[in-house]
Amino acid sequence: MTTETASVPLSRVALDALRKLNPITLLRNPVIFVTEVVSILVTLLAAMAAARGEPWAFQAGIAAWLWLTVLFANAAEAVAEGRGRARAESLRRARGETRAKLMARHDDRSLWHWRDAPELRENDVVLVEAGDLVPADGEVIQGIASVNEAAVTGESAPVIRESGGDRSAVTGGTLVVSDWLVVRVTAAPGNSFLDRMIALVEGAARQKTPNEIALDILLAGLTIVFLIAVASVVGLASFNGTPPSVPVLAALLVTLIPTTIGGLLSAIGIAGMDRLVRFNVVATSGRAVEAAGDVDVLLLDKTGTITLGNRQAAGFFAAPGVSEAELAEAAMLASLADETPEGRSILAFARDRYGLSAEMPQGAAIVPFTAQTRISGLDIPGRGSFRKGAVDRMGQAEVKDIAERIARAGATPLAVARDGRVLGVIELKDIVKPGMRDRFDALRRMGIRTVMVTGDNRLTAAAIAAEAGVDDFIAEATPEDKLAYIRNAQKEGRLVAMAGDGTNDAPALAQADVGLAMQTGTQAAREAGNMVDLDSDPTKLIEVVEIGKQLLITRGALTTFSIANDVAKYFAILPAIFVAQYPGLAALNVMGLNSPESAILSAVIFNALIIIALVPLALKGVRYAPVGAAALLRRNLLIYGLGGVVAPFIGIKIIDLILGVF
C-alpha cells in the first residue's frame, strides 16, 4: 500500500483496451468516440474496396492506424486504472471475510453472537478483542486497545485507540493487537472508509471534475469545428474537381481533432488520484484534488506543523541580585518531577549548559501542575520549596521586564521561585521546523497565503509568525475562530485548505474547500474532511496542493500540445490531398514528404504514436516548480505550445523516412 509502484502486465492492459472499445463506454469521451466511428467507416470502405478487387492496401493502412489510435487511448486509461487496481486488491484482501461479535447490550461483554460483517448496520455495537479485525468503521465507546492499521496506512507500528477524545475512530479492516474495544458502527458496509478507498483507487467511483468537464466541452467543441471543416472539403473540392476519398478525409479529421489529450485525459485524472494515494493521502473525490490546486489560503496549525511542537528551554534569565547558577539549580529542582517534554527540556538544558544534574531527593513532595494554579514544583525537606509556573501567578514585579521581553520574542516565560522568592525566568521556546520559511516563500510565489493557527497569545503568535515567515496568524484560536476565518476568506472568493484531527476541528474541516483530516483523528474529523492523510502529518497539506496543481498543469500542457500539433498535420496532409488537383501546392510540402500517401499515413501514425509516447508524462505529471504563474506559463507555453508546433514536423518527417524504406 505504501509506495510500491504497481506495474501492470501488458496482457492485462491490452485486454482492457479491447474491452473499452465498446462504443457505449466510449461515449464518455467524445473525441475518441468520433475516432472509433471513423475507424469503423474506413474499415468498411477498405473491405468493400478489397471485395471489388480495387486497391485497398492504403485504406487498410489508414484503418489500422485509426484503430490503433483508439486502442492506444484506451490503453492509456487501462494502464492508469491498472495501477490503482493493484492497490485496490491489497485493500480488498484486508477487508477479507470478517465476522463481527455483535453485542446484545453495550455493557455486557460476555453477551454477543457472530454476525457477518457485510450484514452489520449503522449503530450496531460490536466487540473487538485482541486478534480480531475491526469489522466496520466505527467509534470506540468503551475500552482502550492498540490497533495495527497497516492495512490502511501501511504503517505497522500499532496505534492506541480509546473511547472519548480524539483517538476514538477505528477503521474497518484494521487489526486489534491487544486488549479490547466496544465499537459503535458508523458506516454501513459498502460505504466504509476502506470501501471508498477501494472504489477511488480503482477509478470506479471516478466522476469528472469541474475542470475536466470544462475541458471536455472544449475538446468536443473543437471536434465539431474540425468535423465541419473536413466535411466542407467534400463540397469545396467538388467546385473544381473531384473531392478526396473518404479514408483520406477520415485521416485528416482524426489527425485534427484533439485525440492526444482526448486519449490521455482520463488517464491524467486517475494518475493524479493515484499520486495522492501513493503519497498516503486519500481524497474522497477528484473534485477535492482539483480544489487543492486552486487553494488561495492555507490554514496551518502552529504546533506540530510549523514548529516542532514541543516548547524547549532555551535560556535562564536571573532576576536582579540572583546568580544564574542559583536560578539554574532551582529551575532544575522545580522540574525534577515534571514528566512533560517541557520539563524534561529544562533538565536537559540545565545539564548541557550548567553541568547540573540531580536524582529525586528522598522524601520530596511533588506539587503537581493544575489548570487553576498553573504552578508545579517540588518540596524538598531541608532544602526548601521549588516552584515554577506562569509569571503572573508568581509575583511578576521582580521579573516583569524580562518576562515581557521573552514573550515579545515569541517564547514563553516561566518564572522560577525558591521559598516564594522569584529567582528568575526560564525561556521556553517553540522551535520552527527547519526549511519552513523557504516553503512558505514558495507558496507565496504560487499565490497562496499561509495562515498560522495557534492557541498562543497575540504577542507570542506574532513573533513565531514572523520567524516562520507566514503571511497571517490567528492567535488564541478557538474552533469558532477558525470557522469564522475560513468563512470570511471564502466570502472574499478565496479557497481555503486546512488540516485537522480533533472533533472540534470538524466544522472547520467541513467548511474548508480542502479539509485534510488525520488518520489518527476522530471519526467526526475524518467524515468532515474531504481528504484523509494516512500518515497523519499535517505538513503534507502543502504537497497536496502541489499535487492538485500538477494535475491541472498536466491537463493544460497536453491540451496545448495536442492543439498546437494541428499546424504540422495540416502541412503534412493538405498539400498531399490537393496536389493532384493543383500541382503547384507541392511547394507547400515543407517537410519534403515522399508521396501523398506516405504523407497522410505518416501524419496518422504520428497521431497514434504520440498518445503512447505521452502516457508516461500523463501518469507522472508535468514537472511542477513553485515559481509564480507568469514564469510557469512562459515555461509551459514554450515547451508544450511551441514544442507542440515543432515536434510533429520532426516526428512526421521521421515516420515518412521510415515508411520510405518499405
Binding site: I217, I228, L236, M446, L552, T559, G584
Partner: protein, 563 residues
C-alpha cells in the same frame, strides 16, 4: 512597398491609437453613466422606462432583439414600398422580396452586404430613413452589447448588466450622432454631396451623356465608417469619387473605420479598473491589422507576375481594380482594416487583388471579425477568444483558470465554444453546399479556385457581418439573397445570445482578488498567447478552404495559369 506608402499607413494607425484613448474614455463615461443626455429623464418617463433598473442577460437580449426585429420589419416595409413613398426623385421601384429581405437583414445586423447598387436601387427616403437609421441603430446595438459584456467583468456577484434602452439612447445621441455630424461636415468640405436633388445629366467631351448621381451621401458615409457598417451610398462604395473623393477623405475614413472598435478596447480596460488589460487587447488587434496590411501591401505592391512579364504597369504594383488616387498602400490598408473591423466598405476591388492579397482580407474576416471587429461586436467577440486562451493557459499554471478575477468554468467554456462554432458552420457549410449547387454556381463569374474564393468570400463576409464583396458574384438571386441573409442573421444573433449568456454567468461570479497564482493577462506573453489562440482556434479550420481557393490560385499563377 515604399517609404511614403508605409508613412501613410503608419500615420493612420498612430492617429487611431492616439484617439483610442479619448474615445475609450468617452465610451466608458457613457457606459458608466457619468455622461447623460440633458433632459433624458423625461424621455425615459415618457417611454415608461426606469433608467436605474438594470437588466439580467435575458432581459438585455430580449430588449435588443425587440429593437432589431422592429428595425427589420420597418426597413423591409420601407424598401418594398419606396416606389410610392416621397423623396424618390428618380422614381425608383420598390425592391423585390428577396432583395428587401437580404438588405433589411444586412443593415440590421451591421453587415451592410449590398446585393444592389445604391444609386440604381435606393430612393433617398430608403437611404436616409431606412439604411442610415439602421447604420446608427446596429452600431449602437453593438456598443450597448459590448457595454453589457464589459460590465459582466467589471462587476461582481450581480445579474445586472445595465439597461439596454438607456445604453442604446446614450450611445446613439451622445456618441454616434455628434461624431457623425462633425465627420459628415468634413466630408462635405472635401466634395461629398449631401443634398436631395435629382441626378444630374452631363454632356461629356466625347459628346455622350452621363448621369451623375446625387443624394444625402455625406452623413450616411460618416456613420457607415464610424459604425463599422460599410454599406456604400453608391454602388462601388468608397471607390466612388463622391463617396471618397480625395486621399484626404480616404485618410480620415481609414481612421474612422477602426477608431471606435479600438477605442472600445481601452474602454474595457478603464471599466474593469486596469487599463493595461485594454491595452493588451488593443495590441493584439493592432498586431493583426499591421500584419494584414503588410501582407496585402507586399502582395499588391509586388504586382502580378503575369502582368509584369508582359511589361504592364511596372513599378506601380498590381493596380487592377484600384483607384489611382489611393494606390497600393492606401488600398492595402483599407482592405486590412475594413475586413479586420467588419466594415464592408471597399476602396479597391478585392476580386482584382493578387491571390495572396485577396487571401488576407478573406482570412481576417474568417478569424471572427475581432481584429478589431465591428463596433462592440469586435470587443465581445475578442473576449470570447480571451476566455478560451485563459482557459487553456490557465490550466497550465495549475489553477482553475480565471480572467480579471472571474473563474472560467464549464458554462463559460460551453457558451464560448457555441459562439466560436457559428462562424465556421455558416461560412464552410453554406460555401460547401453552394459549391455543388447549380442554382448557386450560376452566380459565380470565374472558374477555378478564383471562383471558389468568390463564393467563400461572400459567405465569410455575410457570416462575419462584414458586408464587403469580393466581387465577381451575381448576388441578387433568390438563393444567394436568402442564404446570405441567414448567414448574416446567425453570424450576428447566434453569437450574441451565447455571448450574453456567458456575460450573465460571469457577472454572477464574485471578482476574486488577483494573487501570485493567477497569471497576468497584460503584457507581451498574454498578447502572444491570445494571438496564437486566435490563429489556431479561429483560423485553422479555414485552412482547407484557403488551400482550395487563394492558395491554389497563387501557385497556379506562379505556374502561369490565370482564371
Amino acid at each position: 512597398m515604399t517609404m511614403i506608402g508605409w508613412a501613410q499607413i503608419a500615420l493612420v494607425l498612430l492617429l487611431v491609437t492616439a484617439t483610442a484613448m479619448p474615445l475609450g474614455a468617452a465610451m466608458a463615461n457613457i457606459a458608466e453613466g457619468r455622461w447623460r443626455l440633458p433632459g433624458e429623464g423625461a424621455l425615459y418617463r415618457a417611454a415608461g422606462i426606469d433608467p436605474a433598473r438594470g437588466m439580467g442577460w435575458r432581459g438585455y437580449v430580449l430588449a435588443m432583439l425587440a429593437v432589431n426585429l422592429a428595425g427589420f420589419l420597418l426597413l423591409y416595409a420601407l424598401l418594398r414600398l419606396q416606389g410610392v413613398l416621397p423623396f424618390n426623385p428618380q422614381g425608383l421601384d420598390g425592391l423585390s422580396p428577396w432583395l428587401a429581405f437580404n438588405t433589411a437583414i444586412s443593415f440590421v445586423t451591421n453587415t451592410n452586404w449590398q446585393a444592389y447598387s445604391g444609386e440604381a436601387a435606393m430612393s433617398y427616403l430608403s437611404q436616409m430613413a431606412g439604411l442610415a437609421v439602421q447604420n446608427f441603430l446596429s452600431a449602437a446595438t453593438g456598443i450597448a452589447l459590448a457595454f453589457a459584456v464589459i460590465r459582466a467583468f467589471a462587476r461582481g456577484s450581480t445579474s445586472d448588466l445595465g439597461n439596454f434602452w438607456v445604453d442604446l439612447t446614450r450611445v446613439t445621441v451622445l456618441l454616434l450622432l455628434p461624431l457623425s455630424i462633425v465627420f459628415a461636415l468634413m466630408l462635405v468640405a472635401d466634395g461629398v454631396p449631401q443634398n436631395l436633388a435629382g441626378y444630374v445629366t452631363a454632356n461629356t467631351l466625347e459628346g455622350g451623356t452621363q448621369t451623375i448621381p446625387m443624394g444625402p451621401a455625406a452623413l450616411q458615409i460618416a456613420i457607415k465608417q464610424l459604425g463599422t457598417n460599410g454599406g456604400g451610398f453608391f454602388g462601388v462604395n468608397s471607390a466612388h469619387p463622391f463617396e471618397n473623393p480625395t486621399p484626404w477623405t480616404n485618410f480620415w475614413q481609414s481612421w474612422a473605420i477602426i477608431a471606435l472598435p479600438m477605442g472600445l478596447a481601452l474602454s474595457f480596460g478603464r471599466m474593469v479598473g486596469d487599463r493595461r488589460q485594454g491595452w493588451a487587447i488593443l495590441a493584439v488587434m493592432m498586431l493583426f491589422v499591421v500584419a494584414g496590411t503588410w501582407a496585402t501591401y507586399a502582395a499588391e505592391a509586388g504586382g502580378n507576375p503575369l502582368h509584369l512579364a508582359q511589361g504592364v504597369a511596372r513599378g506601380l504594383g498590381n493596380m487592377e481594380g484600384k483607384e489611382v488616387r489611393f494606390g497600393t498602400s492606401a488600398s492595402a490598408l483599407w482592405a486590412a482594416i475594413t475586413t479586420g473591423a467588419s466594415n464592408g466598405s471597399v476602396n479597391a476591388m478585392h476580386d482584382s487583388f493578387t491571390p495572396l492579397g485577396g487571401l488576407v482580407p478573406l482570412f481576417l474576416i474568417q478569424l471572427g471579425e475581432v481584429l478589431p471587429g465591428g463596433v462592440g461586436s469586435g470587443l465581445y467577440g475578442m473576449l470570447v477568444f480571451v476566455l478560451l486562451a485563459v482557459f487553456v493557459a490557465g490550466l497550465m499554471v495549475g489553477r482553475t483558470p480565471e480572467y480579471l478575477g472571474k473563474k472560467v468554468q464549464a458554462r463559460e467554456v460551453k457558451l464560448a465554444m457555441l459562439a466560436v462554432l457559428i462562424v465556421p458552420l455558416c461560412i464552410l457549410g453554406f460555401t460547401a453546399v453552394a459549391a455543388v449547387l447549380p442554382m448557386a454556381l450560376s452566380s459565380v463569374q470565374d472558374a477555378g479556385p478564383h471562383g471558389l474564393t468568390e463564393l467563400l468570400y461572400a459567405y465569410s463576409s455575410a457570416a462575419g457581418n462584414n458586408g464587403s464583396a469580393f466581387g465577381g458574384l451575381t448576388a441578387d438571386t433568390p438563393w444567394l439573397n436568402t442564404t446570405l441573409g441567414i448567414a448574416m442573421l446567425l453570424g450576428r444573433f447566434a453569437i450574441i445570445v451565447p455571448v450574453l449568456a456567458m456575460a450573465g454567468s460571469i457577472a454572477a461570479k464574485p471578482r476574486l482578488p488577483a494573487s501570485g497564482g493567477s497569471f497576468p493577462t497584460h503584457g507581451p506573453l498574454f498578447v502572444g498567447l491570445l494571438t496564437g489562440v486566435i490563429l489556431i482556434l479561429g483560423g485553422l479550420q479555414f485552412l482547407p478552404s484557403l488551400f482550395l481557393g487563394p492558395i491554389a490560385e497563387h501557385f497556379a499563377m506562379l505556374a502561369g495559369q490565370s482564371f
